[in-house]
Symmetry: C3
Subunit: 139 residues, 3 copies
Amino acid sequence: MKSFRHELWFEVPARRALINITPEVARCVEDSGIAEGLVLVNAMHITASVFINDDESGLHHDYEVWLEALAPHAPTSRYHHNRTGEDNADAHLKRQIMGREVVVALTKKRLDLGPWEQIFYGEFDGRRRKRALVKIIGE
Amino acid sequence: MKSFRHELWFEVPARRALINITPEVARCVEDSGIAEGLVLVNAMHITASVFINDDESGLHHDYEVWLEALAPHAPTSRYHHNRTGEDNADAHLKRQIMGREVVVALTKKRLDLGPWEQIFYGEFDGRRRKRALVKIIGE
Amino acid sequence: MKSFRHELWFEVPARRALINITPEVARCVEDSGIAEGLVLVNAMHITASVFINDDESGLHHDYEVWLEALAPHAPTSRYHHNRTGEDNADAHLKRQIMGREVVVALTKKRLDLGPWEQIFYGEFDGRRRKRALVKIIGE
């Protein structure tokens, strides 16, 4: 069995953004030299997400509006978590809807994705350096 | 290390349906000849889901009502994604709540599921051929 | 390839609770003797969750309030599932938001977690014995 580990770093200038990281994950697969296995990609921070969906700007707008309706940022005083001095409680909630991680099949040295599947890093509390982890195991 | 790959195909006649695929996944485990490992089952489409819950029709009704309340299909014009000519933005949202994939332990040649755990394919934009992927690694 | 399996048992006295199980999962990693691989931790029950987020009591309060707003327990008669004699339909819904499982990288004999990542068992229908599964594969 072989394994491979790589961190992807981000510093999103806004509070929220969705970033397509499929090319970076595909590069990890290449670098790993692994032909058959599983690829784990997870946010290492608890106010961010890694998820798979469509790279379509209209949909990304819809996610923003929808998540803000389900877990509004303001008023920040509505959340007990924000009494710790943070203002990011909503980001902890939004990330649970979008998910922490994806596991993708690795087949014949490639990410085994459906036709429209793209891997995203979802930032919900940006403006600082944060990372995602790519871990691959297989043979 | 051994690996196994199989696609499950669906053509749901309605827009939405929940289909129990536990027997098909169990057959993959048998066919793989793998005794100990991990089983990944994921939707290959971004308007569908693979998740684990109860095979109880009342609960499936509740999911339908609940998801439609959290991410309504209509009016379709409320979603920017639908300006691309699609009418399935709600399906992209519903799928994030229900999840893209499950990872199940494989122990002693069997799916290592709890007493009520059943694996479902959740279709939120049907009426066309779509698939889920089963990938197994182990020994 | 090596594999390891362990069950964690819970009997939560209340209907709902969030329990930090990071130390128990770390002990499994030690006991496994595996240096590089993947760690799956999943609820074996469909009204419970395993997820990763912050161990901060204010946030846990916020999750409780938020999940109860998105999927209220009462009136129990609003859910068809409860016509089976259960009163836990809301727990099946809440668990979909929080997720069934996490997959964590295992690197150099340790859980490869970000600085604030903690693994939780989320109980949404307690007051009876239930379990989570830890399955590790690697080398």
